[in-house]
Symmetry: C2
Subunit: 135 residues, 2 copies
Amino acid sequence: MLTISRLAREAGVNVETIRYYQRRGLLAEPVKPLGGIRHYSHADVSRVLFIKAAQRIGFTLDETAQLLNLDDGMHCQEARAIAEHKLEMVREKLADLQRIEAALSQLVGRCEASRGKVSCPLIDSLQPTRDDESA
Amino acid sequence: MLTISRLAREAGVNVETIRYYQRRGLLAEPVKPLGGIRHYSHADVSRVLFIKAAQRIGFTLDETAQLLNLDDGMHCQEARAIAEHKLEMVREKLADLQRIEAALSQLVGRCEASRGKVSCPLIDSLQPTRDDESA
DNA sequence: ATAGAGTCCGTACCCCACTACGGAGTCAAG
DNA sequence: CTTGACTCCGTAGTGGGGTACGGACTCTAT
């Protein structure tokens, strides 16, 4: 069982961040033993680490809250709809990242050989294939 | 050749956003023909689309500016150092996304079958493998 | 020649995700 | 039983990434 400051330290965030996540509903506030001090578990550490990881890959706190709800368990119909939507987002991000990865690693490779100026077709790597809108 | 508002429309952003990116140095300001109006190219559209895609996968504008520098071309030594660093970030994000993808698609699969409550080990999917810190 | 739409530029404002601060309470060590 | 570190809670401030606004200018179309 951890105090709030240990939870924060183990998760690599500020104490205030924990309290902020509680206000936002991403983290439950443990019951306070009548005028005392709240206790946290290692599951809370994992939860905060997850939130931080989700943010790094571009999810907002609201989106992350939805992911956490899926983890917490909910009824199938709802869960499935949300999961499918998130899955779509995830796959788009994944595809973009893979294209960036390819472009960057090519650049590194070219740099190994050449000794002048080099550039990297990064911008092109992420252009939407325009089958749609022909304006 | 485009006006600023067409550039903005084609890239799906606000005119003010274009000007903001110029101030931040992510987009060059085309020369203004003496008391006239600036013109933009389709390359600028691509550039803005790239910025937006980079943001979706969790890069800040400063990081995105670095990626754009790589695209613009720079000297090998510098380029390579930056590219390798970004590549590392990209691969971490990729790994996290792949883990989330696996967890989500499992959840969707389970939902197909069951009809009660389901949950999804999302949090666990992103836990850092703790070889380090043994406190 | 003038109306209306668009541009230019500066400044101010907004939302999100924190982060800091301050006063009151708690708790363990000396 | 006091001191010092920590907790609790509310409220205020910060930085990133825009967004809005307003006045002067410019560029067509009529």
